[in-house]
Symmetry: D2
């Protein structure tokens, strides 16, 4: 049981539900340090047949907290050995139990206002360049172009146009870099009081990054959780800049993140 | 992109979000024919350290489409070799690709009105008995006791009281049976036009069942999907009988189901 | 470090190595109560490229202790709640740690004399019938027909001819039953002092079985471990009745079994 | 069915079997680009009880071809996009099917003479230093010190002393490097005609390496497969320099490697 601002319901005016989750299947883009999505049927129709002829199929998946469209737990990132709030990472982590603190199980279902930052839209391009950084000023100008404002408690949806590469892992995780926010943009968002930052790329922050400074700043220093690999293409096309947003992480004890399939309703 | 009835927003009056998902960890109750939930850290803080001292943790999970709180795909059940709509099960299933038709990837995010059937509440008991069947008349009387009605397109949440046994797999999947709806109750719900039937037990239908007749009737004959292993305890305690309900299956290609963490907002 | 009878080396006379393991891939036959074999590449060539142009691939598998050709741990089976030696099963098992006693990690690499019981050969059939039981007398007569004897410490390889169905799971795990040894045959083998009993079927014992009495007798009462799903076809064709046998379970802490790929050298 | 030199049997003189496999459990050392070893019970004793009181336990593992003590497939490494023999890596790899050529399924069970290179023994140290390279000359002098020779077709077991760090992943995969052979040593071994090179570290070659040049030389250029993470401690202590060696990879279709538990018999 948690609470939301009941006034958010007025964001729902048309009853259109946008699906911001990318499809899951073996071969989706994934960070090389993360496990892949795996799938196998565990039982097929016909393997076990009940009296009167019913049968059932089921399956087995392998995935991790950062597979496909997902939400990082606060404890995903440490800085100098510390998680957000000064928690000592090594003393709370365990191979079999995960994170004793700051795990994804501590994140309640997310129901919030979301604002889309359609950066390529503002820049009048289809997609940002490989390795292109998005600054705080870029975000501010994008908002102005959209005629929107960002509020305390909002979810910031940062579009780079990258979502269209989902079926092409080599482009999605290009060796030449991916676009994303820089530290300046992260600071802008934190100052505005956003609760979550979401992007359509693997890393949210501009890549290559030697330091993961945006991850460190948002998660380890501010406890602002990051969503990655969303599909923001249709939302931008339809100019659905402000929406009633729902994302619900699986309550996995101690996990460093969870797959999600966020929706935005207008 | 899908559509919902925008008028449902008026179900949100207080901004209270009920979490209907059970926690996920190794050792949760699971059907013996289904795979278990497994967890292991894949990388710990300190394993790889970026310049300036940031580090990250991630994990690997094993689970299936029917692990923990979940939603069955239409194609989970076949009757006499046929899926809903007369699809031949054997000709669309593949070990590596799953169900070519009727997979969970065909289910859009669910945003709907939900109605709780607090059967133990009506019966003035804490929890139903092992193996106790719930009939259509029971459902009708429960609704009357609650002063509610069920409408076309609703999600029916069937409470047996079983949710409290989550941490005790032997009770949750008792060898002596579990309570649940019978075929008569399923017919009642289909006649009322419900789109989804959800329960707080492993099987939704009364167990033992030699035939899985409720699964066959709902999924294979009517395409009405089933949710199982929800936690409906707090919802009942707070008498939140009608709610703005959201459940979002992961869009796993060909899967027979997906874990979900549904929410009910009032 | 363990010990074997060094005289066994004289079984090696030709230097022919028979591979008794069945291939592993998604879709191999598996018992419906056991997890499936799953495979996915975790990284492909080209995902990460080292200086000078080297790259690497790796993969992720899901499997269990009873997947494919495998060896049961002593603790796989309990009788009336007790493992072999009177160990209380519930007090030593843990979801994350497995079996604190009688796990497969307690089994040293197996180097032993093996004797093939080519039952279909003796019966002059290609393959035994569905549900056909093999008795102690059958085993004795098969040995006589082969001109072999079984000795203390041997591995008994029981051929039904079933190995040829590996690529056809419906035949391999037929709903109409599978051939295998009965309790009488198991008693015969224990009296002879065999250390391991191996078969080319899923269950080793004749199926259907309501009681798993052969498993219970061998594992829970005698600590004689069972191997299943071997491929004994070529060994029989070549009449390699006695051999230098090696099977090496993976040393998985607490596991109820392990995949193996046994070899027989003559 | 494959062939070995039957004369190797004379290496067996005492009947002592050395276990060269490291134990497998969640938390073992693993390369950060590889998946972790995961374990969960899939069914516990008591979950399903057969007539007459027998019950069984089983489990589910996650692991990859390079988890724990393992053998690399020829196709694990590409150089400039090519596998051994000039096979184009991208055209034979598939997320669900793995490597269509050069997979571990092409490796027959290994029965061969093994020679231990006890480098720390020769150097009169307990363990080599972090990042210490082993050259061809080092190997030659080690052999001389042992009074051994290496022959065509042998397995070379390269000891660094690292095996004792297995229970301490931070030491095993030290950020400051690990000892191992350099390119010169790899060339020495290939000139001698060894079929397999095995080491007690994660990478076999000296780390850090920017190029993975030893992997590239052995696998991609010469088709000489590498074993890693063996435990060679007892073998060295007992001066079992030449042995009858058996290692049997699981026959996983298309896999880039397989866990193994090698044994050395003297």
């Amino acid at each position: 049981m948690s609470n939301m601002d009941e006034g958010l319901k007025h964001l729902i005016t048309k009853g259109v539900v946008y699906d911001l989750g990318q499809p899951l299947y073996p071969g989706i883009p994934h960070h090389p340090l993360h496990p892949p999505f795996g799938y196998v049927m565990a039982r097929q129709h016909g393997d076990v047949i009940f009296k009167e002829g019913a049968s059932s199929a089921n399956d087995l998946f392998t995935l991790g907290g950062h597979t496909g469209t997902h939400l990082d737990a606060v404890g995903h990132i440490s800085q100098d050995g510390k998680l957000f709030g000064g928690v000592d990472a090594k003393s709370v982590q365990d191979w079999r139990y995960g994170l004793g603190q700051c795990g994804i199980n501590e994140t309640a279902p997310i129901v919030a206002r979301a604002v889309l930052f359609d950066v390529p839209g503002w820049k009048r391009v289809d997609v940002l360049d490989k390795g292109q950084a998005i600054s705080g000023e870029d975000l501010e100008k994008t908002l102005g172009w959209e005629g929107q404002e960002i509020k305390q408690g909002d979810v910031a949806l940062i579009r780079t146009g990258w979502g269209k590469y989902w079926d092409d892992p080599e482009s999605f995780n290009s060796h030449e870099g991916t676009p994303g926010i820089n530290l300046d943009a992260a600071q802008f968002l934190v100052e505005k009081g956003v609760r979550f930052v979401a992007a359509d790329t693997t890393a949210c922050e501009v890549v290559p990054s030697q330091t993961m400074e945006v991850h460190s700043f948002l998660l380890a220093q501010n406890g602002v959780q990051i969503m990655e690999m969303l599909n923001l293409e249709v939302l931008a096309k339809e100019k659905a800049y402000a929406s009633f947003f729902v994302a619900i992480p699986l309550p996995i004890s101690g996990a460093s993140g969870s797959p999600i399939r966020p929706i935005a309703i207008v």
